[in-house]
Amino acid sequence: MTNKRYGANFIYRQSFIELDARERATALFDAGTARELLGPFDRVESPWLAMQGVTPQEDDGCVVMKGKIAGQASVVVALEGAFQGGSMGEVSGEKMTAALDLAYADSKKGTPTSAVILLETGGVRLQEANLGLAAIAELMGSVLLLRKHAPVICLTAGTVGCFGGMSLVAGLASYVVMTREARLGLNGPEVIEQENGIDEFDSSDHALVWAIDGGEQRYATGLVDALVEDDTPQVVEAIRKFVEKGAPAVHRSSQVDLYRSRIGALDTSRQWDPKELRTLWTAKSATEGKQ
């Protein structure tokens, strides 16, 4: 799936990355089925930003849409990377958690409702600090509830990527979809450099950053489930496929024995070439490994 659109068709690609959160969310639904909930006209914005001199946004940088994907009830929550770096505040966080809880309630009542979470985020919004961190913890709790009944699919397309506490949400997901342009990691390169020095991580070394956090590496090491081009039809197809597939019997984050033994086997006396990990951790063993 990954390369067929390169070459002559390259210029005909419909970029997904260039879409904003609302356009991205809309694109994922079956045509004409999407309905936005708590949109900008409802004007539920962050109560904390204005008092710090930061202009709030009337959807708090989080778009919630309900509709059908591949004919099945679904909800999409999309973080807008262009607003405060897609950061999790009280309102954006609660929008996500409440949407997943409603999907869970419907699923339990007999309408399995998948959730697709579009992650373009650096994690907690520091102006809302503890409420942002709490929102992530509560969202994680809701992912654990819903994923037993319907798949929770995380998509990080770029260019913000997915970092901080929200990377744990991706870790809990039933399926993760990435593009080559996207990055996924707990600590961003700048944070590591700040905390432990440039020898630990040179954040200006973009090749290194993508070699570690980039979609291609995460896919090649079995940590995400699909790698797609920055092409809207490809992204849509990947999401539809996972909605149709339903929730897996064993989630990646529950495969503790497999990953614990992999960590135990690593030589920690040196830094690794990320490519080494591709042979040690193959995609197949990660998705099919047993608890």
Partner: protein, 274 residues
């Protein structure tokens, strides 16, 4: 940052379990033990510093790859053992500086390790285990998401050495382009930004603030008091739902999380519309 991170963790782990060594095969940075709490055996877990740990960026009490997978292993073991029996309580003792910030950690996907530990705690809670978190020192950032934040009930000491926050002061100041002094001043006005545990308590996320006379050298009375509070929190957790909704239904949340409550009521109404 306190240079004594982990001292309180070790002290309270020992006080509550009588143990202070890791389980065979586990890294020295993760203490786990069964111990009597009330009339039953609870599983106690704590992450402590190990200056000789395998991962250089996780030697000072940070929660790293090994710590996260070890916590997950021990919790999953308990879940498996108690499938058809009474769901024993889990007590997470928290004095964790942060998650581990390292290149090895990112390469080996610490985001997944972190999720695996949170998954184990959350799955234990959903399976009916009362999961109680006792914050005795620092509970910062990803460290707390990994170890403690999935609990049914969170207790913390009402003490200047206790801090629950999204990011430590120096880093938060850098990222928001403020001085530490400015940040502290803002915290006085904006409750979720405050580093003071009493302000944190106002957010309605805590089950209880506990006062102990000497958190670094607890007396027999202090320890007994904390044990009694844990027993009460376990009973309270058993009496309620297994999800995290109690945090948003608390008195504190009614006052401090009006935005969250508004989102929830509006979204619920619009969700049901055709």
């Amino acid at each position: 940052m306190s240079e004594f991170t982990g001292v309180r963790g070790t002290v309270w782990f020992r006080a509550l379990t009588g143990q202070s060594s890791p389980m065979p095969g586990d890294p020295k940075s993760v203490l786990t033990s069964d111990a009597l709490i009330g009339k039953e055996q609870g599983l106690f877990l704590c992450v402590v510093p190990d200056p000789h740990g395998r991962f250089p960026c996780a030697r000072h009490g940070e929660v790293g790859l090994e710590e996260a997978y070890t916590l997950a292993t021990r919790i999953r073991q308990l879940i498996d053992e108690s499938k058809d029996t009474i769901k024993r309580p889990i007590v997470a003792i928290v004095d964790a500086k942060s998650q581990a910030y390292g290149r090895r950690e990112e390469t080996a996907a610490i985001f997944l390790a972190a999720a695996a530990a949170a998954d184990a705690y959350g799955s234990a809670r959903l399976a009916g285990h009362p999961v109680i978190t006792l914050v005795v020192g620092q509970a910062l950032s990803g460290g707390f998401l990994i170890h403690g934040y999935q609990a049914n009930r969170i207790l913390a000491f009402d003490d200047g050495g206790v801090m629950i926050h999204a990011m430590h002061k120096e880093a938060a100041a850098r990222v928001t382009q403020r001085s530490v002094a400015e940040l502290e001043k803002l915290g006085k006005k904006i409750v979720p930004m405050s580093y003071d545990i009493r302000d944190y308590a106002k957010l309605g996320l805590l089950y209880k603030l506990l006062h102990v006379e000497n958190p670094e050298k607890p007396s027999v009375e202090d320890v007994q008091k904390v044990k009694d509070e844990l027993v009460e929190a376990i009973a309270d957790a058993r009496s309620g739902p297994h999800d995290l909704r109690n945090r948003l239904e608390s008195k504190g949340a009614l006052e401090m999380r009006k935005g969250s409550l508004l989102v929830r009521s509006k979204l619920e109404a619009q969700w049901a519309e055709k």
